[in-house]
Every structure is written in structure tokens, then in C-alpha cells.
Amino acid sequence: MRAVSAFIMMLAASLVASTAFAHGPTRQKAFETITIKASPDAVWAKVRDFAQLQSWHPAVESCTATNGSEVGSVRTLKIKGGGELVESLEAIDDAAKKFSYRAKDGGALPVTNYSSTLTVKPADGGTTLVEWRGAFYRKYMNNDPPKGEDDEAALGAVTGVYKSGLENLKAIMEK
């Protein structure tokens, strides 16, 4: 019975998605940085592998990718405690030490139309600045979103992903 009603809800949701709107009108952004006492080359070597997010992000259980760190590769992230994220690599630039990826649907995150860029930059005294930026819309696709699917929820979730990831990356690299 429960499965049936869940299925009906899913169906209803997909109907809304196909007949209505790709996203709400107000795009949100998250932008987090951290300074790491390690060389930019070392930090880039750690983060550039699109298929190895679990090696530095504490929320990721496992990661599989269709084509490693080549543009177009699609990775599936299993999140600790349940949930999945499917993201595609849009661009990677070893010279500039940055890559961009996007997720059409938020999966485990309460967002839609999510794109993100991670950049590794040299900072003072041989240290490294890592910037993680994301642009996304809330999960709810019309006006008057319920709690948990509103702008605040979307912003809080993505900010949380970036903060916890960067802090753990720093801890690993400075070990």
C-alpha cells in the first residue's frame, strides 16, 4: 500500500515536471573556500580525480564513474546514510587547476539544475586556496515552496557539502 502511494506520488511529481517548469525562478549560490598548508600541485592531485570523491569527502560512501576524469564522465555517488547523486564532468583544466560538473536533478540534495566548480589556487607562503562554488535552484519548482524544499534548505544543504568536504580535505592534506 505504501509502495503504491509512493509510486503514485512519484508519477504525480514526474507529470508536474514534464508539463510545467524546469525550476523556480530564483537561482541560489554557495561559495566556500579554505586555505590548506600543502602545495597546489599536491591538493590538485588529490581532488582532480572525478571518480574518487570518497577519498576526501566525508559524506561520500562510494563513487563510480563511467569514464574517469574525462569530460562527459558520469559519476554516481552513494551517500553515507542513504541517497545518491549523479553528476557529469563538464570541464576540467589541469593548467588552471579547476573542474566543473553538473547534476540535472539534485538526487540526495534538495536542489535542481545544480552546477559546481572546484578551483585550486596558489596562496601565500606555498599554501593553497581551494574554492568551491555552486549554482542551483531549490527543489520545489513552483512558487510557495514547502519547508525543506525552499531556498534556505537548498542553500543549507549545498553549503554543508562544501564546508564538510573542504574541512576534511584540509585535515587529510595537512596530516
Binding site: 510545467a20 525562478p25 530564483t26 537561482r27 549560490k29 561559495f31
Partner: protein, 322 residues
């Protein structure tokens, strides 16, 4: 009492200074969707001279010198803020549908058109009385709007239909549609009204529409997610911001060819040309980049409010006259 008088005198002096000789050049009105306000930028001085309140999440903007007003759309409060160009002060607030985003004013300054995103219609207002005259049923997720030189016809990007709708403003009708690329958002029209440019966010290209033939006659690949377009003052070049490539594509409008791609700000959106300056709004970094419109060389940046968009024509060219 005395103190209050002195304050009033001060305020008067500031107003005179702002509206008189201090301002030498054009002004830009840039919507800040995250801080719910509008930055007024003195383009030549390269500084923000005022920050005006708007509705919730302002996105679209259209400066109409013919109407003597700038209009700003705020989707989350379903309202249009009216700004007087002479005093640079908000003078009105219009209720506008459910979720107004795209916005334009006819060249004669008499009609304001607003795309009501969620309800698939374009609302028509009288700019003088601010009264709504009617609505036009259009395609799915209407976004960018622009009116023809005769002020009788307008075009709307029906984003989720991959088409442009041709609107009869007085008749309140969408009379035809023209197929363009995938997910058109922003539109611009050549000064003579003959060529319409539609920016296709998903197919990463620009559809060039011959308005006389009512069909797409060329498709120009640009960077990822083209989001904003502006012409040089002589119309010879079009500048297209590529939101996901952090770049600007420069198009020779006569040859219909991309002749250069310049690195730009992060997440570029709104764009405008003022003389030989190219202004590019960075949604991500909360600033506007100032570039040489001939060479693409960056001349500086000016900080704005949060999540700036500048979706529409946002330059008031003859601000010096006031």
C-alpha cells in the same frame, strides 16, 4: 529644530549635487536578486552612486528613456518597481501576475510588457497610468521580451517550447511562433527591427531570426549557457555572455559570425555596452566587470549587491542631460 533644518539643507545639497553637474555620464541600473535591490552605477566614474530597494528577488530590468522610467521585475514578490530616471528614485510598485521575470518597454515608451513565467502569459501595462490593459496567452515559460521599432509587435522567448512568440500588443494576441534552438532565454532585436537574436541556453548557440521571413536563418555556436546579449552602439557587434564558460562571444552582426571569445567574469549574465566600455555582470562574484569593448581587455570591476542579474537593457545613456 535648528538641527533638523540643517539636515534638510544637507539632504537638499546632496540631491542637487547628484542630479546636477557631478554626474557626467551614463548610468547602469543592475538588479541584485540576492539582496533585493538595484545598484545604480555611474559608468564613467566606475562607482555605485545609489542602491535602490526593489521587490523580492529582482531579476529583469528595462530602462526606457522614452518613458523616463526604469522598470524592474521581482518574481518572488510578483511586482514591478518603477524608478524615475530624473531623480533616480523608486516612484511606483505594480502588481504583476504570479512570477514576473522578462520585461520590456515599447520604443515609444507607452507600453510595459511583462512575462509571467509560471502562468505562460505576457501582461501588458500602460506606462503612464501603470494600469494593466490585458494579457496575452503565450507559450511555455516565457522569458526574454523585446518590442519592435513600431511599438506594435513584440517577441517573447517561450523557453520550454524552444520557440519565439510573435505578439500583437494592441490585439493582445500571440499571432505566430518561430522555432529557435533549445531553451531560449534572452532576446535582442537589431535597431532596424529586422534581425532577432535568441540565446539558447541548452544548445549553446544563438538563433538569428529574420523577422521579415519569420524564420531562423542562421545558428551560431557560442560558449556554454548563453544568457545575456548587448549590441555595440553602432550595431556592428553583438556581445553574448556564456554563463557556464565564464566568457563573452563577440559576433560580427553583418557577417553573422563569432569573431572572438574573450575570457570574462565568473558566471556572466547581464551585459551592456556604453560607448567603448563593455559591462558584464558577474552573478557569482557580485560585481560588474568593465572591459574595453574593442579589445576585451579588462579595465576594472565594481562591487554590486548579492547575486546580480541585470537581465534586460539596463543602461540609461543620457543621464547627463538631467
Amino acid at each position: 529644530m535648528k538641527r533638523r533644518l540643517r539636515c534638510r539643507l544637507c539632504a537638499g545639497a546632496v540631491l542637487v549635487a547628484l542630479s546636477g553637474c557631478v554626474l557626467a555620464g551614463p548610468l547602469a541600473y543592475i538588479t541584485n536578486q540576492g539582496s533585493h535591490d538595484v545598484s545604480v552605477l555611474d559608468v564613467d566614474a566606475g562607482r555605485v552612486i545609489a542602491t535602490l530597494p526593489a521587490g523580492r528577488s529582482p531579476a529583469g530590468v528595462w530602462v526606457s528613456e522614452a518613458a523616463g522610467r526604469a522598470f524592474v521585475s521581482s518574481p518572488d514578490s510578483a511586482s514591478i518597481t518603477v524608478i524615475d530616471l530624473a531623480t533616480r528614485m523608486p516612484v511606483g510598485d505594480i502588481r504583476a501576475g504570479r512570477s514576473p521575470v522578462g520585461i520590456t518597454v515599447t520604443p515609444d515608451g507607452r507600453r510595459l510588457l511583462v512575462a509571467d513565467w509560471f502562468l505562460h502569459r505576457v501582461l501588458v501595462f500602460d506606462t503612464a497610468t501603470q494600469a494593466q490593459l490585458g494579457e496575452i496567452a503565450v507559450g511555455s515559460a516565457p522569458a526574454g521580451l523585446v518590442a519592435a521599432p513600431d511599438s506594435r509587435t513584440a517577441y517573447v522567448a517561450n523557453r520550454d517550447d524552444n520557440a519565439v512568440g510573435v505578439l500583437d500588443i494592441a490585439g493582445l494576441k500571440q499571432t505566430s511562433t518561430i522555432a529557435v534552438g533549445n531553451h531560449p532565454f534572452a532576446l535582442e532585436l537589431s535597431a532596424d527591427g529586422r534581425t532577432l537574436w535568441a540565446l539558447n541556453v541548452y544548445s549553446n548557440d544563438v538563433s538569428v531570426v529574420d523577422t521579415g521571413q519569420a524564420r531562423t536563418v542562421a545558428t551560431l555556436p557560442v560558449g556554454k549557457a548563453p544568457y545575456g546579449i548587448a549590441f555595440s552602439e553602432d550595431g556592428a557587434h553583438a556581445y553574448v555572455t556564456n554563463q557556464q564558460s565564464d566568457s563573452v562571444s563577440v559576433i560580427d552582426t553583418a557577417q553573422r559570425q563569432v569573431i572572438a571569445t574573450w575570457p570574462s567574469v565568473v558566471y556572466p549574465e547581464g551585459v551592456a555596452v556604453s560607448g567603448e566600455r563593455l559591462l558584464v555582470v558577474s552573478w557569482m562574484d557580485d560585481l560588474v566587470g568593465v572591459f574595453d569593448a574593442r579589445t576585451g581587455r579588462q579595465q576594472g570591476t565594481v562591487a554590486l549587491g548579492r547575486n546580480p542579474r541585470g537581465f534586460g537593457r539596463f543602461i540609461h545613456r543620457s543621464a547627463a542631460a538631467h
